[in-house]
């Protein structure tokens, strides 16, 4: 964090390391965030998007990965429309760190890390907080990673949105989740007012029009009426409750404009923290574990990060 607030945002930690961002889906903030994180740490960051690359010539994910491995890259940051694509690469590549920057509707782990970081920074703790995630849970990899992350850190997570946009297991949790599963305790409701009651964190999810293939709800008008997070609704939450959004926002749909830019919003901080969290992650995964163990000079530099 400290490095990001300096006049000259540059430390030599990852000098001579090569990081490729391999994006099979459109992205602005995540890709730039990783790129900035890498560049601040002095890594050479190469951006590759599926459009305009050999992927368009039909190259498979495996061969693209093997090609990057042969070029000696240290880390691949991958975003892919299919769940498990990073796992697939990690299984087939050797000596290359693979970082998941979002895979299908499965996970977006760095987003969850930055969300956790932001909440702890603002509220001082995670244990025992009530976290409400509102909107299109079914198509949201952010929701799934947050669900996992916040549950693991001892928060009570409530999901709220149209029943048609909830994974069906959550609609019949007693049948679906094995006993003692960490996610078995997740609450679910379609009533936003009830969900927000006493909440410490309210996270609005982007309505993912590009992932929805059929009409999951009657109209945007009805969606807004039932599930838009507004100043009015937030009154039911705790006094210092945080309003979050993974971005990009559809202002006026899942979140009202005044709330998005109001005092309780930490949406901008989420973005800043994203760079810091990704710097930490790149450091962890790119620097040789042995060097860390030896408490070499790189570790002392890392402490400055």
């Amino acid at each position: 964090m400290e490095v990001l607030s300096r006049d000259i945002k540059k430390v030599p930690t990852l000098r001579g390391r090569v990081i490729v961002t391999l994006f099979y889906e459109a992205s602005t903030r995540t890709r730039i965030s990783f790129e900035e994180a890498g560049k601040v740490l002095s890594a050479d960051v190469i951006n590759m998007s599926a459009a305009g690359s050999s992927v368009e010539k039909g190259e498979s994910l495996l061969n693209t990965g093997l090609t990057l491995q042969a070029m000696g890259v240290d880390a691949v940051v991958i975003r892919h429309p299919h769940a498990g694509a990073p796992h697939f690469l990690a299984r087939h590549l050797e000596g290359v760190s693979v970082i998941n920057a979002g895979d299908g509707i499965h996970a977006h782990p760095t987003q969850a890390l930055l969300d956790l970081y932001t909440v702890r920074e603002k509220l001082g703790r995670l244990q025992g907080l009530k976290v409400v995630i509102v909107g299109d849970v079914m198509h949201s990899r952010v929701a799934r990673s947050d669900l996992w992350g916040f549950s693991k850190m001892g928060c009570q997570v409530t999901l709220c949105g149209p029943a048609t946009l909830m994974p069906s297991d959550f609609l019949r949790p007693q049948q679906a989740w094995p006993d003692a599963h960490p996610l078995a305790g997740v609450q679910i409701t379609t009533d936003l007012d009830q969900a927000i009651d006493g909440a410490d964190v309210v996270m609005a999810l982007r309505l993912q029009t590009e992932r929805q293939t059929t009409g999951f709800f009657p109209s945007l008008r009805e969606y807004v009426r039932r599930w838009q997070v507004t100043e009015d609704r937030l009154r039911r939450a705790r006094p210092n409750a945080l309003v979050m959004h993974p971005g990009p926002m559809n202002e006026g749909i899942e979140i009202s404009t005044d709330l998005a830019h109001g005092d309780s919003s930490v949406i901008v901080e989420q973005v800043t923290n994203g760079v810091a969290v990704r710097m930490a992650l790149l450091y962890r995964l790119v620097i040789d574990q042995a060097a860390i163990n030896q408490e070499g000079p790189q570790l002392s530099r890392a402490k400055a990060v």
Binding site: S60, L61, L62, H80, H82, A83, G84, A85, H87, F88, A90, R91, H92, D103, G104, I105, H106, A107, R141, R144, W148, P167, S168, D169, F170, A176, W177, P178, H181, P182, L183, T213
Partner: protein, 462 residues
């Protein structure tokens, strides 16, 4: 049709001595001998006196082994013509022989599809020239499997197809399914429908449930199968046609089938070895172990199959339906794929498992765990499928004297580790890779010829 396998030249007379004969067609479970002469069973069920053993007779000592009619598979994909890089009739039938199957019914989703006599004849010719076991083609319900208009079903029947199916796809249009069931009544052959309502399964790749949610993979609800089965049962009732339901996978499907049979509707069904033995937890990695989170072994594409692997309750219901005979038979849905079709993301991977060579071993697990009786298992692999095929095929599922000597000898207790590198099938796609199975085929005979023989068998030509 039947041929030599490798360098093994089968003598005209074979005595299989001292095996445990399980023949559900005669309610047999006894220790006795089988004598084979000129491709037929000349006697079985008694101990043959040492002095009356014919000359130049190969003797196979089957002590401790099970000897039963060869298995009949109502559902396999041999991929030829059109997809010879995945499987051929030669490799698929050798895989069958290694798995104890002596008869395969091959599905018509080839290229071109089996929707005309020329393709039927091509398959019969290939099977005769290169096949290790019997091959019975299944014809398309609709021209080109396009689901628009009926194929020339009578001509296909006359050419020797044993059933009709657009497998890989359902007959989706309910009116067309009605017509198919009605039109085929006088042909006496079943319509074998792939039970999948595409508008419910959509882009799903595994069973809907907590594992799919955890992995972020689009799910296929049980209702996608059950809705189609409910519809087909209603249409079978309406038309009086013969309906066969492929690869049942859900508890709800078993209930629907049970109720239809109680009402006297002409319907039969099959279940696959994988749906009886493994669950959707296998997609998480760790071969079904309790794994909480996704890891590098998650998204194992060899577990991707249609219908998808489901939950424990479904497995239990399927086993119950199989045990009480509601489900008539076990079929493999052997679906071999090349590596490139599976070495991709889970969502891009092709559906299907290479089953023929692991079927017996994985089913014997259930016997060893006392979840399935041995004679029931044999029945569902022999007489059960023969009943679905009809009266003309009963001779392929019995050890009665005078019938073709199609039989299998297997060691119920032999443990082995699944190594797809040893498969005869071109399809190495199995989630069982590296697992230990107990129960292995020792020898397979088709019309009295040994088409597969495992090493440890002790035989001598005397």
């Amino acid at each position: 049709m039947v041929r030599k396998s490798g360098s093994i030249l089968s003598p005209r007379t074979i005595l299989i001595r001292g095996g445990r004969l399980i023949d559900p067609s005669q309610d047999w479970d006894l220790i006795a001998d089988v004598l084979i002469q000129d491709g037929k069973i000349s006697s079985a069920g008694s101990i043959i006196d040492r002095t009356s053993i014919p000359e130049h007779c190969q003797i196979i000592d089957a002590g401790g082994m099970v000897v039963c009619p060869g298995f009949i598979d109502l559902h396999s994909h041999l991929r030829e013509p059109g997809f010879e890089h995945k499987e051929t009739i030669a490799t698929g039938t050798r895989a069958a022989a290694r798995g104890g199957f002596t008869t395969l019914c091959c599905m018509p989703n080839t290229e071109p599809a089996i929707d005309n006599v020329a393709v039927v004849e091509f398959i019969r010719r290939q099977a005769s020239a290169e096949g290790a076991v019997r091959v019975l083609p299944i014809g398309c319900v609709t021209k080109g499997r396009k689901g628009k208009e009926l194929a020339e079903m009578e001509e296909l029947a006359a050419a020797g197809v044993v059933a009709f199916s657009d497998d890989g796809d359902p007959v989706y249009d309910p009116m067309l399914m009605r017509l198919a069931l009605c039109y085929s009544r006088d042909l006496g052959l079943p319509i074998s429908n792939h039970c999948q309502d595409n508008s419910l399964s959509r882009d799903g790749v595994m069973a809907e449930g907590w594992v799919a949610t955890r992995l972020g993979l689009p799910g296929i609800p049980a209702a996608a199968e059950e809705a189609m089965i409910a519809r087909d049962i209603a249409l079978a009732d309406l038309t009086g046609g013969r309906l066969h339901l492929t690869h049942l996978s859900t508890a709800g499907s078993v209930s629907l089938l049970r109720r239809a049979l109680e009402q006297g509707i002409a319907v039969t069904a099959e279940v696959c070895p994988h749906h009886l033995s493994i669950t959707d937890r296998w997609v998480l990695g760790g071969k079904g172990a309790d794994v909480e989170a996704a890891g590098p072994f998650s998204y194992d594409t060899s577990t991707k199959v249609y219908p998808p692997l489901r939950a424990d309750v479904d497995v239990e219901a399927l086993l119950e339906g199989l045990a009480d005979g509601v489900i008539a038979c076990i079929a493999t849905d052997h679906a071999p794929h090349d590596l490139a079709s599976k070495q991709v993301t889970y969502q891009d991977a092709s559906f299907g498992i290479s089953v023929l060579e692991t079927a017996l071993g994985s089913l014997m697990q259930l016997v060893h765990e006392d979840r399935l009786g041995l004679s029931t298992l044999v029945e569902r692999l022999t007489a059960g499928p023969a009943r679905v095929l009809g009266p003309d095929f009963q001779d392929l599922a019995t050890l009665r004297a005078g019938t073709p000597a199609d039989l299998v000898i297997f060691d119920p207790n032999k443990e082995w580790v699944v190594d797809p590198g040893e498969f005869a099938s071109k399809g190495k796609n199995t989630p069982l890779e590296g697992t230990t199975l107990k129960g292995r085929v020792v020898a397979t005979l088709v019309e009295g010829q040994v088409v597969f023989q495992d090493d440890p068998i002790s035989g001598r030509v005397g």
